[in-house]
Symmetry: C2
Subunit: 453 residues, 2 copies
């Protein structure tokens, strides 16, 4: 219900905009668009088909262009950049923060990158090059080198004077960093403490050194986890010698968390999280056909297993009617176990120390579910085909397949993790291949042995 309200709001905006676009009245469109934040404009552009997207993009205030580019997925970004000439791109990106520019820079045409670098002052150019020297998805790439530092041997009053002279602080500054002469990080002081303590208070009394800083080579995933474990708004980044290099802020972390979530949801269906809703057909086909091809290979494997039992099916055609039930329900059960394991692995809750306990638990759950669902299917099959032995065969096959599902659902993600394969993306194909093959094999195999005597 609650979600419906929010949905209504956005889709109302979308409809208003769409109507205005259809009628060719661009004035209202421009006014509507420029009341939105860059992230909202990005979201709006992603929801428009290519022709309308180009029109609306042309109406966005050039001042917001850079921020909008930062907020859209890779595929949509490409389509927006394609509509801009080099001068527009340079104007759009040159005022961005270093971390945002670093995020964008690889999607820019080479000639534009050179121009952008030339237009920057030396300090910012050095900073950008430093950030770009770290691998993607590490703290170094996420950080902004623009930090406010103070010395320990001073007072609140002196720091306040310094800040007044300095003027505006970088966004989301909630701490000032206390560094030594050689820029080693000694600790940090909350802005809150500056405003609640007497001007004479020495800074050294206000230093918080209880938290550890982020290491520049830490993964984005680890950065995100630490932000949510410690409820941080910003955190300093240091190198191996504890020299302060920059800081990461919560807004970038929120983006990481959203991306991780999308990665799990879309990856499980073989999709890329940057896929544009309105991808050109050719691109959409290319993006999906590989995944379908992999699934096809496993489907042929299952078909091959069935093919081994052609003679049996010829005799008892009821087997053909019932066999998809055994395979299908087994697949559902396996995906449930897999999904729990993938989440547990992502949260670091599953490892060698508890894998066997989990496996044992899942096997017991599978046995009970297998008996319940298998019993029900057996009863229906008996009524349908009036054959008690057939009914016993399908119940047994389902119990076996539920146990295969528990085994595959538990062990496949653990093995993949060890082999550095992402189980959120590759898990489903493998576990359903196992339950398909085991489902057909156990059902048709048992039928051949028991019913064909």
């Amino acid at each position: 219900m609650a979600e419906a309200i929010r949905h209504d709001k956005t889709s109302r905006q979308l409809r208003m905009l769409s109507d205005a676009l259809d009628s060719g009245r661009l004035g209202p469109v421009r006014r509507l668009v420029n009341t939105l934040s860059p992230a909202e404009i990005g979201n709006l552009l992603e929801s428009l088909p290519p022709a309308k997207r180009a029109v609306v993009w042309g109406l966005v205030d050039p001042e917001d262009d850079g921020e909008v580019l930062v907020h859209v997925g890779d595929e949509v970004r490409e389509s927006l950049l394609a509509d801009m000439d080099p001068d527009e791109i340079i104007a759009a990106v040159e005022d961005l923060d270093i971390d945002d520019l670093a995020d964008l820079v690889e999607d820019l045409p080479d000639t534009v990158i050179d121009e952008v670098l030339k237009s920057m002052d030396r300090e910012n150019r050095d900073r950008l090059e430093q950030v770009l020297s770290y691998p993607e998805d590490t703290a170094g790439r996420l950080m902004n080198p623009d930090v406010v530092t103070v010395r320990a041997d001073t007072t609140v009053d002196v720091v306040l004077r310094f800040l007044r002279l300095r003027g505006e602080l970088p966004e989301h500054t909630d701490h000032l960093y206390v560094v030594s002469r050689r820029r080693q990080l000694l600790g940090w002081v909350a802005l809150q403490n500056l405003v609640t303590h007497h001007p004479n208070t020495p800074i050294s009394h206000l230093i918080d050194d209880s938290l550890t800083a982020l290491r520049v080579d830490e993964s984005a995933e680890s950065v995100a986890r630490q932000f949510s474990d410690h409820d941080w708004v910003s955190a300093p980044v240091v190198d191996s010698t504890n020299e302060l290099l920059g800081r990461i802020t919560i807004d970038d972390v929120v983006d990481i968390i959203r991306e991780q979530a999308e990665h799990q949801a879309l990856g499980a269906a073989g999709l890329d999280e940057d896929e544009d809703l309105f991808s050109p057909i050719r691109r959409a086909v290319r993006g999906r056909v590989v995944w379908l091809g992999i699934n096809l290979a496993t489907a042929f494997l299952a078909a091959f297993v069935i093919g081994r039992f052609e003679a049996t099916i010829e005799q008892i055609v009821a087997l053909a009617v019932l066999m998809p039930i055994v395979a299908g329900i087994g697949g559902n059960a396996a995906v449930q176990v897999l999904t729990l394991m993938v989440r547990g692995l992502a949260l670091g809750q599953v490892g060698a120390s508890n894998a066997s306990i989990l496996l044992w638990k899942e096997l017991r759950v599978a046995l009970i579910n297998g008996l319940l669902i298998g019993g029900l299917v057996g009863a229906v099959a008996w009524i349908w085909f009036g054959d008690g032995l057939l009914s016993a065969v399908i119940t047994t096959a389902l119990v076996i397949n539920f146990c295969s599902a528990a085994l595959a659902g538990t062990l496949v993600p653990l093995l993949m993790k060890r082999m550095n394969i992402d189980p959120a993306v590759a898990g489903t194909v493998v576990v359903t291949a196992v339950t398909d093959v085991m489902g057909f094999f156990s059902f048709l195999g048992l039928a051949t042995v028991i019913l064909m005597r």
Copy 2:
């Protein structure tokens, strides 16, 4: 790779802890546990089987008990509360912030709730009751009524004096709220501006009134979206008369975003996001069997369709071998479309205004993929069974089923949204039922018409 590092770190902790527990040396366990933040302890407890969980929970510093309870899923929370006596629970929760306490209160035993309310001072009790009066998953329930307010007709210097007198500020205070005498919200002043402006500056010069406040009845989903659209750290909550009621902070928003992500990933497999990895067997069975039962119903529907063609299968047993391919690949294609639509709906990017364009795009993608995959399957079938007509039948059936997949994948989530059913949870069952039924029906139906003449 990067993820592996982080994973190694947590699983190393887990292994160390597990070893120490096994050897009965509780001293090291206690020391290890109490170096962690409450959120990390919560994560650790969730990764332990019940017996070890109870031991470690007993070793947690009682001061952290309340925060840990806030950070675990509902099911694990219940198991932890079951290990505590009423006095311990009261001691654990009485120092929590109002918003955290509101989150916890419904899981507490009634007698404990009364005691907790009695132990609070009048002001906090009134605040808690106010927060609890709003429905779950709305801004009112997420907010903390503890805010720092100032008047517009004063100066930076006066405000700094006031803050020094007041002492510690609520966590994540990045803005002070400017209110009228009747607590109407007039705007807010960034802490950053207080420290960078001259003491004589009038507060009225620093007020930012460009942003709209959150309404107390807004959904949690909408709150989260606005935080990430505007890069907020905190935001004020007002009622319909613009009276300031409290504020929401980014840490709670990060939790909402994580929960939404888990909801989509786990909901698609029919799981509850609060499911404990180590649920008691009975509970795990109950949680999963309903979902499996629903899937079973659709599997029987598909079996019923196959049953209509028993005579055909009896004649051409190759159909039984190939039919799971048609149904299965169709299901994969449908889930891809569904997943994109569910994301688009969640982001408000899909609505009445672009549904028909999306449907048309998906139909064209389906046609091309159907021809590619269908052609490949047809070729393999021809080689396998040496029957050109059979090959033509399966290719045609696959093209038809890809188009059904596009239709179902696009329209089912739109219809569910309109009917207030969550397509992230219910979508997969319905679209795969459609592709199963259409797959078997088109393949066996075409075979009956074309091959059985």
